[in-house]
Symmetry: C2
Subunit: 534 residues, 2 copies
């Protein structure tokens, strides 16, 4: 059963080793677990719903609660404290495009707002009803539009209902000999439509590409009509409207079906992951930059700073494995400041062999020590377990959030430093220490993503906890904008980043986005407050 | 000196071998070379210009003539016959962004229309003043905004003035150890800004990507203000506005500078091209599809139908080489219906070796016979000479045009057949035969481009010649649209394809494009009639 106020399946938990708890206490002081509100207490405080009578709409309190919040830190504070500022008034589960058209018409006649809902895994406030809204809010849960509609074998194109979740999509494809290869951290719950609407990027983006590269076309049902995006392999016929649907975040309409570019499964059943340690942060960055700029067809890289490397090893808790690793790398002359680098390969055999050889050679020139595949396999096996750590940390009294951007190589070091510094400074006024660490996990010849995790102590009450988070979020976002990074490489804009969007789109760019949304949704009923602040 | 009424440098000509002339006569009957108007005759008939007095504007007749037409077939008919329906009233050569801003302001105050002009190589009518225009027309020739402005070595990013032409751009990059790798057929004259505005694709798109992949960001100066597009390596921050500038065709403003993703030159100095013959069209298509779907990092493929293969060999006129080739492939059991396949490789040594081995193996499984690198090297050396053939054929009394699209693999065969059939049928009412042949030259896992060349006899007068062309163009365009192809894979929309754009963008999509253009250019002064028919 999926947790209603935390991450994932309630049968799965992440054990934090004793040594790791001591590590956290040393860094930030002891945590005080807050008392979470029960579902019953929370439901009792839910405001009454505006009536939204329609055969497709459910108005019961559990449905409303289950769709009230996503997975951002403020979402967690709301859910765990039971103080949820706004609920949808109803939840609809369309099963066809006709249902979607009908729900939009219904919303128009009732003056209601619509929130498209995929897997509810947003960490930027994409699916939250706006507080203080005077109009009824109808959440449209797309989970029942989850079928494989068409498969074009020759063209490696698969068309799905946009509500299909990651595991179902991969299962359907694998049964037919294909894979999409899109594995965001949220994979277990997030949906194809959500990936497209938020421009998601998967762990294997280096090989498979971002969702932009995989989304060939589809149908977006807007209040103003249907926007059909044909799945051409490429086109020079004017501006590419797919790139308006990508990142549209529910403001323009509801994506009902999407055609994606799939790959043959043979050779791609699983990723082979090698782990290396680089002697320091500078040479580690040089290695990954040179590997990606050499045009080697790897499927994944993930490079941790020294602090993240240490934290990962402590939290992973494989004491014996770590002891062995430590001895091995220290024997080879790598001591403090080492950086963990994971390299992932799949695809055609010979190509993998060549790619691995060349990548390891480049890393070796920077002092990289290959520790083999055991650690990499462990990471690969557990890669969707990491978000469960949030539950465990919360229950120890610690909050965790991640901030992320992308910037050019010449700017990467400075950006990492600026973000980590901003986070370290942000809670000084609160008399609190934070623990912040970073990895680079999406790579391009011109730059990479920067992904920083911050741990901090939860406060006595939800208001104070939220104030701490807000200080961290503001500081990091300002550092990103000031450092000429994008406000999001992979989480999207939602409501949490909307204030920072004008810094990168500019005045004219923002006007264009408003124009496009207005054309698609003249009455402004689609997902208000997201993407565009007003 | 660049030809004013044909392709390229007037010191370069393409010799059509005697055997090839006989081949053309057999197919279409003898050609009757039309008498071309002289530049003097043409200039004498130019209408007087609307006065456009400004320090940056030149109004002399030679400048106006040199910027009146591009390289489409109707452009050639106009230039060769001396009957040019419309001239610009003046030509400006800005040298800075301030000049561009000033020219837009000047146009606004004078009620003039602006046509951004790169290299004048459009084959779809992008830079032509509209006939019957009542407002003065100012062509803005960007050729003096052609400097390398910034080079970010670590990030492999180079920023250029958008007016830089292909050879200058590559020369500047190569002097610093880099290459862009973008080589459209028009490379010798076309410009970076033109590539971006028309979504150009180069011969090595399989390796380097299309211009969409290479264009990281830049500045577009619109009548409504400046649109700054930051060069993030990737972003999830909402819709990607670069994809509005890409394909904007001068309707939204003038691109003044562009940042492109470059690659290290080492290993990419030149392409190694292997030539193969496949036994028939079906197995040849299977080979290229399997190669691209295997994810092999080739830089180029080019596959000709049997008819194009024969035509290429005849027109190339390397009698001895061809004789040897014919004997070789016939010895290996490949006879009639053979298809020429070129495979191009560059980049990191080991990767090239592996890629070549795997690609040749796949082709071999389809009966491909590798004839080595001599023929491929010849093609590579002469790859920018091909457009000169247009001059030679015209002077023999034959017209030549190309039509192109992209479609999915499952649709490729049918599309080739539909286009060639449409072209063969189109001149039946004129009692004329055409010679049509096709190659596939841009490859994607989901499909490819289809590029068809048509030869036909010029008529007695320009009106009748134009009527023949129009019949061919209409027939091919209708076949493309009916067959669910894009109206352009690489030539853009311009005026010649504008009527077919709604078929793929849809009603709502067209409204979005109009909204975007209106926001950027509220008075509608930018390049009217292009991209959007009205």
């Amino acid at each position: 059963m999926r947790r209603w106020n935390g991450w994932g399946d309630d049968a799965v938990s992440y054990h934090v080793p004793e040594r790791a708890v001591r590590f956290l206490v040393e860094l930030m002081g002891p945590g005080t677990p807050p008392r979470d509100a029960t579902a019953g207490e929370t439901l009792a405080s839910a405001p009454p719903a505006h009536p939204l009578e329609h055969a497709l709409v459910k108005g019961d309190a559990v449905e409303r609660l289950r769709h009230a919040r996503g997975q951002s830190f403020p979402d967690w504070v709301a859910l765990r404290s039971g103080r949820i500022p706004a609920y949808p008034d109803g939840v609809a589960y369309p099963t066809s495009e006709a249902d979607v058209v009908e729900l939009i018409r219904f919303a128009q006649t009732r003056g209601a707002q619509l929130i498209p809902y995929g897997g509810g895994t947003s960490v930027a406030g994409h699916i939250n009803p706006q507080p203080q809204g005077a109009r009824p809010v109808l959440t449209v849960d797309m989970s029942r539009m989850n079928r494989l509609l068409r498969l074009d074998d020759a063209s490696h194109l698969a068309t799905f209902g946009a509500g299909i979740a990651g595991p179902d999509l991969e299962a359907q494809l694998r049964a037919r000999g294909y894979t999409l290869g899109h594995f965001p951290q949220s994979f277990e719950y997030s949906t194809l439509g959500g990936w497209i609407a938020t421009r998601s990027s998967g762990q294997e983006s280096l090989g498979a590409g971002r969702i932009e590269d995989l989304f060939a076309g589809g149908r977006l049902i807007a209040p103003a009509g249907a926007l059909e995006l044909p799945p051409f392999p490429a086109s020079a016929a004017g501006p590419d409207l797919r790139h308006l649907a990508l990142g549209s975040e529910g403001r323009m309409g509801i994506l009902t079906e999407a055609t994606v570019r799939v790959a043959a499964l043979a050779g791609r059943e699983r990723l082979a992951v090698s782990a290396l340690f680089l002697p320091d942060w500078k040479s580690a960055q040089t290695a990954v930059r040179q590997i990606v700029q050499a045009g080697l067809p790897l499927s994944l890289m993930r490079l941790s700073t020294p602090v993240e490397t240490e934290t990962t090893l402590v939290l992973a808790g494989h004491e014996r494995l770590i002891g062995a690793l430590q001895r091995l790398i220290s024997l080879r002359g790598v001591r403090d400041g080492k950086c963990l680098l994971m390299l992932g390969f799949n695809g055609q055999d010979e190509l993998v062999r060549t790619t691995r050889g060349e990548a390891l050679e480049i890393a070796g020139q920077q002092g990289g020590v290959n520790v083999g595949r055991t650690f990499g396999s462990q990471w690969y096996k557990n890669r969707f377990r990491t978000p469960y750590l949030r539950n465990a940390l919360w229950e120890l009294g610690y909050g965790v959030d991640t901030v992320e951007t992308a910037t050019t190589w010449s700017n990467t070091s400075a950006m990492v430093e600026a973000i980590e510094n901003a986070l370290h400074q942000a809670l000084v006024p609160f008399g609190e220490q934070v623990h912040a660490f970073t990895h680079l996990s999406h790579f391009y010849p011109s730059g990479c993503s920067v992904y920083t995790t911050v741990l901090f102590r939860l406060a006595d009450g939800p208001g104070e906890t939220l104030a701490r988070w807000q200080a961290l979020k503001d500081a990091a976002s300002q550092a990103i904008v000031a450092g000429h990074g994008t406000i999001s490489h992979q989480h999207g804009v939602g409501s949490d980043h909307a204030a920072y969007l004008p810094a990168e789109k500019g005045e004219l760019g923002m006007a264009l986005l408003h124009d496009v949304c207005r054309r698609m949704d003249p009455e402004g009923i689609m997902n208000p407050g997201k993407l565009l602040a007003a």
